[in-house]
């Protein structure tokens, strides 16, 4: 009986059915390729939220096309009666489920990402010590480009267990933190004002956003965290470099000495300020 059910499940697949299936596969592939080529070009001509919205459409359109193509093919292969569908999917699901557990978890994670939007193309995120800008959200993973121009593929599966740090959340502003470690024997109030001016006088600084200097005492040094926003988040590293170079020069001028030895931070500074 099971064999009869299996045999009856599928329609007679004639030549016309094969041609239809091939056409569905070809046209859905073409649609996906066109969308992946067209939308980035369109979004490059726009800016701000419109650009981010257009880029986020690509994975959604691709998912829709794949699901539609799969359903259309399935309808041509089997008679979609209730019993046949249950038998077909039940057996297949058990086998595939074990084999593709992580893959399916990543796929589901990708779908959840589209709706929950923990990150979007253009965001700067950090997952598992990998920090970079989201270039694309694929079915199974997210592509990020690190500051060293390395492409990192992070499975969506990581969403379930790893925290995702999003530095700009699709906004134009991204805070940078530039660290300075000074030996004791300097005037902290003077250094704090000086570092504030270092940020104020940088051409990269977004002056409409706040500049903060947080001071923390460590056993080995006084730790200054200069928090400021660059005008363009793609220039964040140039910004940090500019603040570091000019900050060090200004500190040397007032006789504040850099700490000889910097211990690795054992815990975050709690986001003070």
């Amino acid at each position: 009986m099971g064999t009869e059910l299996s045999a009856d499940m599928f329609k007679d697949i004639g030549q016309s059915t094969l041609i239809q299936i091939a056409l569905i596969l070809i046209s859905s592939t073409l649609i996906i390729i066109i969308v992946q080529q067209l939308i980035p070009r369109l979004s490059a001509r726009t800016s701000g939220n419109i650009r981010y919205f257009l880029q986020s459409l690509i994975p959604m359109i691709r998912l829709g096309v794949i699901i539609t193509a799969a359903v259309m093919i399935l309808l041509r292969l089997i008679d979609p009666t209730f019993e046949k569908m249950v038998a077909l999917f039940g057996g297949t699901a058990v086998a595939l489920g074990f084999a593709f557990k992580d893959y399916i978890s990543s796929l589901i994670g990708g779908i959840v990402t589209l709706f929950e939007r923990p990150y979007r193309p253009g965001d700067w995120i950090e997952v598992n010590d990998s920090y970079g800008q989201v270039r694309a959200i694929n079915m199974r993973n997210v592509e990020i480009v690190t500051p060293d121009d390395t492409l990192v593929y992070i499975p969506h599966l990581k969403l379930w267990s790893e925290p995702v740090h999003n530095a700009n959340d699709s906004g134009a502003h991204l805070m940078t933190v530039t660290d300075f470690y000074l030996e004791p024997g300097h005037r902290a109030a003077e250094v704090r004002k000086l570092l504030y001016d270092v940020a104020l006088t940088s051409v990269y600084t977004q002056l409409e956003k706040p500049i903060l200097v947080i001071v923390l005492n460590k056993p080995w040094a006084t730790h200054y965290r200069l928090k400021a926003y660059p005008v363009d988040h793609t220039q964040q590293f140039l910004f940090i470099s500019d603040l570091t170079v000019r900050g060090q020069a200004a500190l040397e001028k007032i006789g504040a000495k850099a700490a000889a030895q910097v211990m690795a931070a054992t815990q975050p500074d709690g986001g003070a300020g």
Partner: protein, 298 residues
């Protein structure tokens, strides 16, 4: 310029900006040597009293602290809007609300251009070069006379567009106006309504859709934006002043960019100072806004 002339007429002391070295000096008594509380004074260009440099803010901070506290006596401080937007960020404390000259709408611009040209000989009539519409308001008699002759009395919207594009800044509007004046109408208008030279000198202006704008160089990137922004913040800078800002550019690159911008008529050199040209001001402002740099509040 307006304030200077007024102060000269009233006998006020007009302060001149300090040299570059005094701006960057850590301890400077320059302010004490020039300011006296016993005489009314005018400081016409606050944008020349600081540099966007770690050592370039002390003098202006001291000046503003003392001025707003009243310890410098009675005076007037004038500042360009870009420098003012920046200086608001360097002070923490009381800052008075500035007085601002009202921007020029199309009616003011019309009166301004009429006065400008009436200072020269003749009475100018300004018409648009394509359809002959009048740029300046016509008197009722003139309208009636032209209507009797079956001629157009249509009013052009050129001045409204000019007022909006120049943000009501008369210097910018004047530069654009002069750049787009011509003395011959377009061929179609000349054939339909020949403009004969009479005692009333006629002049034509290109329609707004054909106005000649300055254009940014195609290579203009954020580095160009840093230079232009610095020039606006400081009301013009010498090459020495630009180098003193410690921009993230090598000196040769700064010079190359200045040449590029000058060729595109975005900037010009007045004496030793590089400045944004008035007719390029609107596109420079838009360019800096696109780069997310600090804009003035006007």
């Amino acid at each position: 310029m307006i304030l200077r002339r007024w102060a000269e007429r009233e006998g006020w002391k007009i302060l001149e900006p300090p040299p570059l070295q005094a701006l960057l000096a850590t301890e400077s008594d320059w302010l004490d040597t020039v300011m006296t509380a016993d005489q009314y004074w005018l400081l016409p260009d606050l944008e020349h009293y600081f540099l966007r440099h770690i050592d370039g803010l002390q003098l202006v901070r001291k000046l503003l602290d003392q001025a707003f506290a009243g310890s410098l006596g009675r005076g007037i401080i004038a500042c360009n809007s870009w420098a003012w937007a920046f200086l608001l960020h360097i002070r923490q404390g009381y800052t008075p609300v500035p007085c601002v000259l009202q921007s020029f709408d199309h009616e003011r611009l019309a009166r301004h251009f009429q006065n400008l040209h009436q200072q020269k000989s003749g009475h100018y009539v300004f018409r648009q070069s394509d359809d002959g519409s009048y740029l300046m308001p016509l008197s009722e008699e003139e309208k009636a006379r032209r209507q009797e002759q079956g001629k157009t009395v249509e009013q052009s919207h050129f001045l409204q567009n000019l007022a909006a594009y120049s943000q009501g800044i008369p210097g910018v509007a004047r530069a654009l106006w002069r750049a787009n004046l011509q003395f011959q109408p377009d061929q179609e208008l000349d054939e339909a309504e020949p403009m004969r030279m009479t005692t009333r000198i006629r002049s034509v202006v290109v329609p707004w859709s054909k106005i000649r704008y300055a254009r940014m160089p195609t290579a203009a990137d954020s580095h160009y934006a840093f230079i232009l922004h610095s020039l606006l913040l400081h009301g013009g800078l010498t090459l020495e002043g630009l180098h003193a800002l410690e921009l993230p550019l090598v000196s040769a690159k700064v010079v190359e960019m200045l040449m590029d911008l000058e060729q595109a008529e975005i900037i010009c050199k007045t004496g030793q100072h590089w400045q944004v040209t008035p007719q390029a001001y609107p596109i420079v402002r838009d360019f800096l806004a696109a780069k997310n740099l600090l804009l003035d509040h006007f």
